[in-house]
Amino acid sequence: MNADAPTGRPVASPHAHGGSSVGRTMFRVQMALVPATLYGFWLFGWPSFFLWLLTVVSCLGFEAISLKLAGGTRIKATLLDGSAALTGWLLAMTLPPWAPWWVAPIGGFIAIVIGKQVFGGLGQNVFNPAMVARVALLVSFPVPLTQWVTPLPLTALAAPGFVDGLRIFLTRLPQPDAMASASLLGYSKTEMLRGIDLLHSLAGEHAPAVSWIGARSGSFGEPASLLILGGGLYLLARGVIGWHAPLAVLAGVAIPAAIGHAADPAHYLSVQAHLLSGALMLGAFFIATDYVTSPNTAAGQIVFGLGIGLLTWVIRSYGGYPEGVAFAVLLMNALTPAIDRFIRPRALGRDRKGKALDVARGGVQ
């Protein structure tokens, strides 16, 4: 061979690349989560920070262990691509901010090992790992997973300091009654079951307020709906996600909610309450847009998103659980292969069914 290096194995075109990478995508998603997360830290104090940290760390840990056990060769590269950290981050956003410490490693195990690595790791899983963990935790430990606290901003006098926060996180000190609170969806469901309709329950003095950004109780990422929305819009602008799935999710909830609320405000929450509660914004912009577990075509993503929205509304309105996003996401994840199978892009020169276009249709005149 001559001076220039031998090329070895033949490779096909293209001999150029756009420069995108998995790591960059994951990094952008994480950046989009930063504002809402910081707001959450401020609102719920140190315990929430510890929970977030431990969740992310345990996800990374379980990812490393699984890869090691599977005999992986690119362990460091895989950890650095940020997908496991993102899973942990998203899971933490959906947990009650003062959940006991053991929720984090159990959640991390379910998300990473059962939800993802068992299927073969990144890109191979069929269910969204964070939502698998969230649902499994909710079903297995309903009590700690539905205990909410009133927001106590870090700057407030009564807010627990670093050490107190750690103590709350680790030892599960009995919470003062004043701290206990309910999320809007949980509260309305409980009251409804007690026979008090929405008109009365929401007017009550303990009723959680519906506010766009205000301090209110709920899961770690719930109060910051607007910041989540902003993060989502950032991802849209950077082209990381498409508009189809998020818009469809929001529409899937908003349309039935509007009809229901207009027909019977005593039994159906308002559109605003639906859109800002639970993990809906997070679900719409960060979960429903998960590449791996959502359909690949724009039309498929619209069906997928509408399905999530509608199921969320059905479960919230009629089901036994107050929140439905996680269940709805898992159900639509399960339907994704079927959606991908039946909704396919139209190939150039073919009709939707894949048959070649008719020559006799008329050509250039």
Binding site: M1, N2, A3, D4, A5, P6, T7, P10, V11, A12, S13, P14, H15, A16, H17, G18, G19, S20, S21, V22, R24, T25, R74, A77, T78, D81, S83, G120, G121, L122, G123, Q124, Y291, V292, N296, T297, D340, R344, P345, R346, A347, L348, G349, R350, G354, A356, L357, D358, V359, G362, G363, V364, Q365
Partner: protein, 507 residues
């Protein structure tokens, strides 16, 4: 309806990618003509279709433009001597192909005189019949210069027979790095337009639509000036979007009509020719000059002096690069040698491959150019769907590659494997750096091999049956002969029933 149209306009073209084009400064540098090399290597198959058959003997002296090998079969093209000299060998030379395999070629040693053979031009080409123009183009060995190298005359004659309505002239040149078509349009616009009008004459088409990407304003201006007053030829600026220069995409953008899958453009009344081909057609018809040289781009970050060079067919890439200015640091940092553009060109194992009629570029790329970000390795597919969005054919690259990886080639067909034009958009945008096009090329090759095996098995079966019939017939004849012998014992010494030896194929 109106709303949908507006929506589509706002959305723009959904398919394809927009790679950094790297066309300048090579496109702005004036064309340099390369002197004839000492030896030229002329493969007999520089085109799609059957290889040409040599008509010269080793040791024979030929003049520039003389026929070396004639077309063989319905789809084929002849090869001519790019300069005067002596045929020194008919042998195998390295093909411009990633495999590094060879193909038969004629080796011509230049005598340095570079004297033309007698040329049969025509001063009034528009008086020629369509068939005559087709004949002249065929005799000149003109093939598509955009890269596919399909014999142009076959297309022209076929178009005349199919009564196409419009001629689409491809000045898209959507491949990054390449600028030879751009250069041709800037420098020889009137000649190109003349060639286009000859093609219109040859096909009987009423009008020609020239599509030029809007990142070549100089070329658009030159061509617009050249067509002033010629109503049949119109210049259209099309959005710069890869792969705009692909036949089906360009037709759709210019005419709004899709070429049916499994069909050809002629089916919808269109044929597509490259601007360079138009120029070659003009030379063939007006001057009787065969296709013996072409313009190509030398480019890439490793090339010292990127630019467009007029090169004789058969020159080694090595010599072209040396003439162009050599490689930086003598090839240090060179990651890939490419013939053609970076999106669809072929990687070659070494530079000692000849320039053929379809060679539009010679690229010396470094690692960052090839990988986007240097040192990226392939990661698992994350089903992000970037490839689906980028695919100009509306296929599902991720589904195809997943199946091909498992060895299930046929299962990839329902997802569009056969429609794939290997444009490379999917692999270009893949965040996991999956070599999707290579998966498809592998699967297409394997499927073609299976199809060959199947045909072969059928042929074998037929032959086995013929043999069985022959064996039976021979046995019967033998028996009959034996019976005859028995009947006429007197003539026993006579003849033998069995042939002297087997001769299974009397034809």
């Amino acid at each position: 309806m109106k709303f949908m149209k507006l929506f589509r306009r706002l959305k723009g073209i959904g398919w394809g990618v927009h790679p950094a084009d790297h066309k300048r400064p090579a496109a702005d540098a004036p064309v340099r003509a390369m002197p004839v090399s000492a030896r030229l290597y002329l493969p007999l198959q520089q085109h799609l279709g059957g290889p040409a058959r040599p008509v010269v003997l080793v040791g024979q002296k030929v003049r520039k433009g003389e026929l070396l090998a004639e077309a063989q079969g319905a789809v084929s093209a002849p090869v001519h001597a790019p300069t005067s000299g002596v045929v020194v060998a008919v042998t195998e030379v390295a093909a411009p192909h990633p495999s590094g395999l060879t193909l038969p070629a004629i080796i011509l040693e230049a005598d340095g005189l570079d004297e033309w053979t007698e040329l049969r031009g025509c001063d009034a080409p528009f008086a020629l019949s369509a068939a005559e123009i087709g004949r002249r183009v065929a005799a000149a060995g003109v093939v598509g210069l955009g890269g596919a190298a399909f014999p142009s005359a076959v297309k022209l004659v076929g178009a005349a027979r199919a009564r196409v309505a419009a001629l689409v002239i491809n000045g898209g040149e959507c491949e990054p790095y390449l600028s030879c078509d751009d250069r041709l349009m800037r420098d020889s616009a009137p000649a190109i337009v003349d060639g286009i009008r000859l093609m219109l004459r040859a096909t009987g088409a009423g009008r020609a639509l020239v599509g030029i990407e809007d990142n070549k304003p100089e070329a658009i201006a030159a061509m617009r000036a050249a067509v002033a007053g010629i109503g049949a030829v119109r210049i259209h600026a099309v959005p710069a979007r890869y792969p705009m220069g692909s036949e089906k995409q360009l037709i759709q953008v210019l005419t709004g009509i899709e070429v049916p899958a499994d069909g050809r453009p002629a089916d919808i009344g269109v044929i597509v020719h490259n601007v360079g081909t138009a120029l070659a057609v003009r030379a063939a018809v007006r001057e009787g000059k065969p296709l013996i040289s072409r313009l190509l781009t030398v480019n890439g970050r490793c090339a010292n002096r990127p630019g467009n060079i007029e090169v004789r067919i058969g020159t080694l890439a090595e010599e072209v690069i040396a003439f162009a200015g050599g490689l930086k640091g003598d090839g240090l940092g060179l990651a890939r040698r490419v013939i053609g553009g970076p999106m669809m060109g072929v990687q070659i194992p070494h530079w000692r491959v000849p320039v053929v009629k379809g060679t539009s570029g010679i690229l010396a790329l470094d690692a960052t150019e090839v990988d986007g970000i240097a040192g990226r390795e392939t990661a698992p597919c994350i089903r992000c769907g970037s490839c689906v969005k980028a695919c100009p054919m509306g296929l599902l690259p991720l589904e195809m590659s997943a199946r091909i990886r498992n060895g299930a080639f046929a299962e990839a067909i329902p997802f569009g494997l056969k429609d794939c034009i290997a444009c490379g958009c999917c692999a270009y945008v893949c965040p996991s750096h999956i070599p999707l096009v290579q998966y498809f090329a592998h699967a297409k090759g394997e499927l073609a091999g299976q199809e060959r095996d199947r045909l072969r098995a059928e042929a074998t079966k037929k032959m086995a049956r013929q043999r069985q019939e022959r064996v039976e017939r021979e046995a019967r004849e033998k028996a009959e002969a034996a019976a005859r012998r028995k009947a006429g014992r007197a003539a026993a010494a006579g003849k033998q029933g069995e042939p002297a030896c087997f001769n299974p194929r009397p034809d």
